[in-house]
Amino acid sequence: MVKKKTGLLSGLIGMSLLLAACGGNEDAATTTPATTDEETKEAGVVNLYTSRHYETDDVLFDQFTEETGIDVNVVKGEADELGERLSREGEATEADLYYTADAGRLHWAKEKGLLQPVESDVLNENIAENYRDTENEWFGLTKRARVIVYAKDRVQPEDLSTYEALAEDQWNKKVLIRSSDNVYNQSLVASFISLNGADAAKEWAQGIAGNMARDPEGGDRDQAKAVVAGIGDVAVMNTYYFGQLLNSEDPEEVKVVEQLGVFFPNQETNGTHVNVSGAGVTKHAKNKENAIALLEFLSSEDAQGQFSEANFEYPVNENVEPAELLASWGEFKEQDLNLSELGKYNADAVKLMNEAGWK
């Protein structure tokens, strides 16, 4: 009997070893980026660090491989961490493309010297100038607006005007917005620093912190639900989250969100805050041509259309119509701002929000 027990233990150990052995081989095939792999050499590969986790992206990568024969290898992680990894790998990196949400982060990568300029007529033509880096080190690929949503039963659209107005007494204890940890809020504040100056931005942050219906909690979707729940009257959120809620599998979510209206603020003044997710070719890319090819593919009309349809993001390619839902909200005036500014003022924005008591 004792023998059996020890046998079991050693069996377990043996099994692990065995697994380690076979697993090892199998992984060598799947995980080594194929720069050295002879078979795929003709078409080659492109290696990607991305913090976007959408199904749409995977589908588009597959299409790209199908069209060009170039394999797409992906590491999916979190934006800042992947940036850190890229930066530590330095010259040795195998990543060709850094792909992430928020222009602030792209700017950070550029400042850190992680990206390189790309000259491509296709990209220049497909992507409007506002959504590209001034030195073409990164390119926006999808666009989202940070808007105000309101409870249709309690708030008239006429009551709403600007982001600035949300900081006024009228909205005391009625504003819902997530925490200052969130990069979308950081970029929002950074845009105000750029447009209105640091003092005005700080004053605004203080006003918002004072008008919050509750301490910040949850994500953008949670802010929308809290409006319907009556915790507050208005919430600040990104457009695609709203689109996703409206198309949720959970009928209850759809029902709830239908009670909300979307408002694009600052139409009479300096425009609604927009941000992009985008990508840049890494400084030490080993497959630069392929990386550019993938960028060009993603900015094409076809891909842009898919982004918009599946994920409720606005296309950056002006030849592409936004998805029906987005179109139904109408056209709007955007902040006149090169998005690099968001990155430039990110650290200031974080500190300023901390000082303003925005949790």
Partner: protein
């Protein structure tokens, strides 16, 4: 003479291996540790002025209450299951460990999904009964909510260790207390908790460490804790230096606390060799009391496992068609594979270090046994940076070799699974080491000495005597590590090779984007596989007892 003597005593393959393993595994943690001495910059001052006080306060509140509640729940369940009979007792014995299979951040998302405005609770009240309850009442995205989530998904650490301990206790101790007229409550608080102190502290420290290094739950809940400061410095201010410095401070604090705890407690040597202990037989209670007891156990099980599981299951049904793909077989294989390999390596390392520290009395060996915990005390992402730096350095050193082998890639190791598995080992060594350490503590040294006097050298003694005697501890440790790696997220995200995904990263890809329903399938699979391993461990243990 003394030098000669200590060299004599300690120089053997065990000590050399132990020191080697420790240095290797802890190099990432140590590289972070030394950075606390770096000069502070202006970000540091900002964090100190605006964030730290409040953050530390929140951290302490969460740690304190999670600690207390986990102990109360974990110990009471361990005691009830050991001492009383009630319906389904055999199931609950292992069923009460199942909450450990649910990663706390997924548990947090799930509970929020249940009670938020569109969740099942409020929408049923609203649609079926027309009750518009005050939503604030259902708000769990706050400190008490986080305490609840941590407690209900982490208490099993206390439960497992305490139950194992109580099962070995002599019945006479308990009977004596009863004869002296202690009521059940008095018995629990005045006898059970004090005698199980060592076990409780062991379990509770794992709970506390997990709370301290968590970022998933607190960031979703919007609670600002010490780890928030680390990530704000890093991501918000782009200042890795300050982030690592903060992590270093956290790590030192944890280390100090554990070191003093161990020093105060001392190392009790006791053995179970031949003292004929009559094991505690569970007794029956009155029908009324049994009902209360059963209700309590059931409620904890429901909250910690059944409710979140059923909710996830329902979400999975909602999104199954959209999410399901053949890719999932690969995900399962990847997850199971890295978990098994890491758990195996960790147990091997834990055994070597555990055996060394037990057999020698030096300061060095005590220190080694304590530092195993370093990797578990700080957020995974920070450890990951340490590991990455270490491997990139290693790759540079090995470049000559690569060139010689005609491989034209500058980095091999840091793009391989080896780096990720190394990181798991470095992080979860404490989880595997604790049971091994406790197991060795329990058997004492005399079996080893007896074996050596019968002519068997250390290695043979280890294989023939020590290892078989602590095999259930080893198996327990293996199971715990397996589950931890299965659930692990931050290391995997940062250190994954190209095209390598696990169930955990898959769940995260959705949950991170607030698509909780879509995350359900991967979550369910994590829970199912972890649950299965808990069950297997339990079955093996029960079979051994017979």
């Amino acid at each position: 003479m003394t030098v000669f003597r200590s060299i004599r005593r300690r120089t053997n393959s065990w000590s050399i291996l132990s020191i080697l393993f420790t240095l290797l595994i802890l190099s990432p943690a140590l590289s972070i540790f030394v950075q606390i001495f770096e000069k502070p910059n202006e970000n540091w001052a900002h964090i100190q002025e605006f964030l730290l006080k409040n953050y530390i306060q929140n951290t302490l509140t969460i740690v304190l209450f999670t600690g207390i509640f986990s102990i109360l729940i974990g110990v009471s369940l361990a005691w009830l299951v050991t001492a009383y009979t009630f319906p389904l007792r055999r199931f609950f014995k292992w069923g009460l460990i199942l909450p450990l299979a649910i990663p706390p951040y997924i548990g947090g998302y799930t509970y929020h999904g249940i009670v938020n405005y569109t969740g099942i609770v409020q929408s049923t009240l609203r649609n079926e009964f027309g009750i518009h309850a005050n939503p604030v009442f259902f708000d769990i995205l706050n400190i008490p909510g986080a305490i609840f989530v941590f407690t209900i998904f982490l208490y099993p650490y206390v439960y497992i260790i305490t139950r194992a301990y109580l099962e070995q206790q002599s019945a006479s101790l308990i009977e004596n207390a009863r004869l002296l007229g202690s009521g059940p409550l008095e018995l629990f608080f005045r006898v059970i908790i004090p005698i199980s102190r060592t076990a409780i502290i062991g379990g509770a420290s794992l709970v506390i460490l997990e709370v301290l290094n968590d970022y998933g739950v607190v960031s979703y809940f919007g609670i600002q804790v010490f780890t928030t400061a680390i990530f704000q410095a890093w991501f918000g201010m782009g200042d890795v230096g300050t982030a690592i410095k903060l992590a270093g401070i956290l790590m030192s604090l944890v280390f100090l606390i554990l070191f003093f705890e161990k020093a105060l407690r001392g190392r009790k040597q006791y053995s179970y060799s031949n003292a004929k202990v009559r094991p505690l037989e569970p007794v029956s209670l009155s029908r009324k009391k049994t009902t209360v007891l059963f209700a309590y156990v059931t409620v904890i099980f429901m909250l910690g496992f059944a409710i979140p599981f059923v909710q996830l299951f329902q979400w999975m049904l909602l999104t199954y068609e959209k999410v399901m793909s053949p890719e999932f077989t690969q995900l399962i294989a990847n997850s199971v594979y890295v978990s098994m390999v890491s758990a195996f390596i960790i147990m091997a390392v834990a055994l070597v270090i555990g055996n060394f520290t037990r057999l020698s009395d030096g300061i060095l060996s005590k220190a080694i046994s304590r530092v195993t915990v370093l990797g578990y005390s700080i957020p995974g992402a920070v450890i990951a940076i340490g590991v990455l730096t270490f491997f990139l350095w290693l790759d540079r050193r090995l470049n000559v070799l690569y060139e010689w082998l005609n491989i034209d890639a500058p980095i091999i190791l840091s793009l391989s699974l080896i780096m990720l598995i190394f990181a798991y080992v470095s992080r979860f060594l404490a989880i595997g080491f604790n049971p091994v350490d406790a197991g060795f503590d329990k058997i004492g040294r005399s079996f080893t000495e007896a074996s050596r006097l019968l002519g068997k050298p250390l290695w043979r003694t280890f294989i023939q005597v020590d290892l078989p005697m602590i095999r259930s501890a080893v198996l327990g440790g293996y199971t715990l590590v397996f589950i931890e790696v299965m659930k692990e997220l931050p290391l995997t995200l940062l250190l994954q090779p190209f095209n390598f995904y696990t169930l955990s990263t898959k769940a995260f890809q959705y949950a991170n984007d607030e698509a909780v329903h879509e995350a359900a399938l991967a979550s369910i699979l994590i829970i199912f596989i972890s649950g299965l391993s808990i069950f297997m461990f339990h079955a093996v243990l029960e079979k051994e007892k017979r």
